[in-house]
Symmetry: none
Subunit: 199 residues, 2 copies
DNA sequence: CCTTTATGAATGAAAG
DNA sequence: CTTTCATTCATAAAGG
């Protein structure tokens, strides 16, 4: 960090009461966040292995006892996995639609059709199209580009930097060295917190 | 800390560079702590089945660009996530309203109340109710009495919906007393300006 | 086995 | 209010 040496004048950094207040708020906010994170962490850590209420997780899906005779899926937990046939049809339909608007009504038809080839729900179809489209967009910066791809570039940079590993042995940094790196935090961020700025 | 008295010019608080630096460091420290807590929480919670798809943290509203010079990264971007407490209250209110309307004025009250338990804006509340209602409708095609329309086809019959929060039912309500150093904390001021359409 | 990747699902926010 | 978008999480599947 570079700062000019304090001159005799006060052209250096001066802080008004207002600015100071802002800084205090900022600190306070961080404090709260830390507090909450700690509490949350503690509660989660001491959380009992689900007493109840977690049952509805995958409950609604097809019964897990469906020992697929085709041997495709064995440990069917709750996540739907399209069969090759289904996928094929889905891709075809997706291609037909072009612009990729799932069309709420169409979903039912598709789901119905696909149910012929395996267990599937409308929600599955719906999700599939959502994901398909989103993924497609990320890959090709300009495919059809009918719609404004605004956050496209922003999304591209986000590769697979997300690494939440719990059993990762080697690549975990210890929490020991907590030194403040660049205390160059700007308060502007706090002030422009809302993405939707008042007009 | 004692400020120099040589600045009789300014009636407000004046801050020397040194003091300012101290404050910055303070903020930076909190930032790092938050980062570490977040990472710790994520790594820990992802190790246990009890995590059950709970998001990073509650009230994640802090500045995301605090990446240290060492290439540190905090994935927490900008999306608000209700704390369990907030969610609880929201659900209660939602239930109270029944099929009521989000009520433009009421939102402010709710937001105010919820701000006690974490960062939140009116916009958040508003969106939450919107989403909640829409989601709820998809689940229950109860509106069939009056309209035999495409209510069902517009929806994608949700099989399962709820699956979250492992520790809210237990009764840990520790979030109520969040102590923070700065007495006069006015985060609402920073975070508010929730200006959604109040037609 | 354990790690990495692919992808179904959940959801806050925004558009229409 | 309804539908769509974008982001993130968790897990099945694949790779070593």
């Amino acid at each position: 960090m570079e700062r000019e040496s304090q001159n005799s004048e006060y052209d250096g950094r001066v802080m008004t009461e207002e600015q100071m207040e802002t800084l205090r708020k900022q600190i306070a906010i961080y404090t709260i966040i830390c507090e909450q994170l700690l509490l949350l962490h503690n509660s989660l850590s001491s959380c009992h292995p689900l007493s109840s209420g977690l049952n509805p997780i995958g409950g609604g899906y097809f019964d897990p006892t469906v020992a697929s005779s085709s041997g495709h899926r064995v440990s069917t937990r709750y996540r739907w996995t399209p069969t090759s046939k289904q996928l094929q049809i889905l891709e075809r339909i997706y291609d037909e639609l072009g612009s990729g608007t799932p069309n709420p009504k169409r979903v039912i038809e598709i789901a119905t059709e696909l149910s012929e080839h395996g267990q599937i729900t409308e929600k599955n179809v719906y999700n599939w199209f959502q994901n398909r489209r989103a993924r497609s967009k990320r890959k090709h910066p300009q495919t059809t580009t009918t719609l404004t791809d605004q956050a496209d570039d922003a999304a591209v940079t986000t590769e697979h930097e997300e690494r939440r590993s719990c059993g990762e042995s080697g690549g975990f940094e210890s929490y020991d060295h907590i030194l403040f790196p660049t205390p160059d935090l700007g308060i502007e961020h706090l002030l422009s917190e809302g993405n939707y700025r008042q007009s």
